[in-house]
């Protein structure tokens, strides 16, 4: 009897310790989770200047940027560089959220065909510069509505033809450079219109027939190494990113307006942009000023 009672008390004690150990593990688990959340919140300070689904045209944001950062670039014109951007080491000077490493990125032509940008670039009205994240949603909605209106009103045929023209120009340019263009596997949607950081002028340029944007879209697309099959869930997987290109084609700044839940997709976009820097020299019409161009990366279209 006594031995039985002793055994029961020992078992009780052990099960108590078992519960305590489980609780300790749970506490450690939640502490680790809390630490990671805290750490990510420390590192991911949203330095959002403005949000645009498609692009950041107009004088508002452009003016601000040129005042804050781009004035030196506008004042001192940079000597032109050869147009094939991928053969030069990138010189990315500043990134909003993650620093871009400087390393030479020779690009091997990939055996993928260049796909057409899926969305026709649309010219947008001048966006407001919004500093708060709550206002960003409003701006986002407004821009979406504007884009929807414009695409509804504009006939599809002209934009398609202009796009074809742009691509034809691009192909001619590529052929003349003597470089091979591979077949792309990307889903880069160059949905940008020209956001010209014109130091106050704010010319809302760009559009469907902008060969420069089509060209850089194709370069980024070629440099984008991404596989949709590695994503378990493609829901909500889209990255809105805009880049600031200075006159010599160098990507000066990369701003993630919306990050995807998958770091793999985010990193692949970041690396593609890094790899693509420096891009071809800006066209002369830009007048030696830097421009902002927005892109949307989604896993769609990649199989």
């Amino acid at each position: 009897m006594k031995k039985g009672q002793k055994l029961v008390s020992v078992e009780k004690k052990f099960s108590l310790w078992l519960v305590a150990a489980a609780a300790m593990h749970a506490v450690v688990f939640f502490l680790a989770l809390y630490f990671q959340l805290w750490d990510s919140s420390q590192h991911l300070k949203p330095k959002i200047v403005s949000v645009s689904l498609v692009s950041l045209p107009g004088s508002g944001s452009a003016h601000q940027y040129s005042e804050e950062q781009g004035s030196s670039a506008a004042a001192t014109p940079v000597p032109p560089v050869p147009p094939r951007a991928t053969t030069h080491p990138p010189v990315v000077k500043k990134t909003v959220q993650e620093p871009l490493p400087e390393k030479p990125q020779p690009v091997a032509p990939k055996p993928v065909a260049v796909e057409l940008p899926k969305k026709s670039p649309v010219e947008l009205p001048k966006p407001k510069v919004v500093d708060k994240p709550t206002d960003l949603n409003k701006v986002l909605e407004r821009l979406k509505q504007n884009v929807a209106k414009k695409t509804a009103t504009q006939p599809q045929q002209p934009s398609a033809t202009s796009l074809n023209k742009a691509l034809a120009n691009l192909q001619q340019k590529v052929k003349s450079d003597g470089q091979q263009t591979g077949s792309g596997s990307g889903g880069v949607r160059s949905s940008s219109s020209g956001s010209r950081s014109s130091a106050g002028k704010g010319v809302g340029g760009g559009g469907a027939a902008d060969p420069y944007k089509a060209e850089i879209a194709s370069i980024i697309q070629q440099n984008w190494a991404f596989s949709r099959q590695l994503l378990k869930n493609s829901y909500g997987m889209s990255v809105y990113v805009r880049i600031n290109i200075v006159a010599d084609g160098t990507i000066r700044q990369i701003v993630f307006d919306k990050r995807a839940p998958s770091e793999y997709l985010n990193n692949s976009v970041k690396k593609a942009l890094e790899k693509s820097s420096p891009l071809p020299v800006l066209p002369k019409e830009e007048g030696g000023r830097d421009i902002w161009i927005g892109f949307m990366f989604t896993p769609e279209g990649i199989e």
């Binding site: 305590a20 593990h25 990671q36 190494a225 839940p261 998958s262 770091e263």
Partner: protein, 219 residues
């Protein structure tokens, strides 16, 4: 909730069923190991402390009746338990048994209690050794499985870029990390308890004849 921004937990949410199963096994191993470590630590510490105090009292008094009465205060010590079992056997003999027979019977009773005490001391400790030996291999199994899947995906995508390979491998390596996290405390605990149990066992072997002699040569 736990998307991939949140480091390890993001990787866990993307892990496959085999890796998750391996992780749950390792988690249960870790919980049981820590429970054993905590339980045994208290048990052995108490046993050592009380045995030492009992031995001090035993050599101080040397009267078995008094020592037996005092031993009731040392319920968790191994040496007091052995002494009590020998005393009970000695008192059960009566006056008719000759001294040689009495010595043999008391020695047998003491020996039986020593064996029981050894078993009691080493209960659950071998589980720590099992965890220490197997947990890294279980974790390694999860890692190998994850890397297999990762390579399979690479084959499907026909891309060997680091961006394609790295997520799967880092996801798989969590299993090895979890295996090591379960095994390291278990091995440390096992070594510590083996050493403590060894000390108590040596005490039991050394002082058991002393107890028998104390009963038989009682003044």
């Amino acid at each position: 909730m736990l998307d991939s921004r949140f480091g390890i937990f993001g990787l866990l949410s993307d892990a496959g069923p085999v890796v998750l199963m391996v992780l749950s096994v390792l988690l249960s191993f870790s919980i049981i190991s820590w429970a054993i470590i905590a339980f045994k630590f208290g048990y052995l510490r108490k046993s050592l402390r009380e045995s030492k105090a009992f031995l001090d009292y035993f050599f101080e008094v040397y009267n078995v009746d008094k020592v037996f009465t005092e031993s009731e205060n040392f319920r968790h010590g191994s040496l007091p338990r052995v002494f009590r079992s020998g005393y009970i056997e000695y008192r059960a003999l009566g006056d008719k048994v000759d001294i040689r027979q009495a010595r043999a019977r008391v020695a047998r009773a003491v020996k039986r209690e020593v064996n029981a005490e050894n078993k009691r001391l080493s209960t659950l400790v071998p589980f720590l050794a099992t965890v220490g030996n197997t947990a890294p291999f279980i974790g390694l199994f999860g890692t190998v499985w994850g890397i297999m899947n990762s390579f399979h995906n690479i084959g499907q995508t026909q891309s060997a870029s680091l961006a394609a390979v790295a997520p799967g491998i880092s996801e798989a390596l969590i299993a090895t990390a979890a295996g090591l996290a379960a095994a390291i405390p278990a091995v440390i605990g096992y070594n510590f308890f083996t050493q403590q149990i060894g000390i108590i066992e040596r005490d039991l072997e050394e002082f058991s004849p002393e107890f028998v002699a104390a009963f038989i040569n009682e003044p």
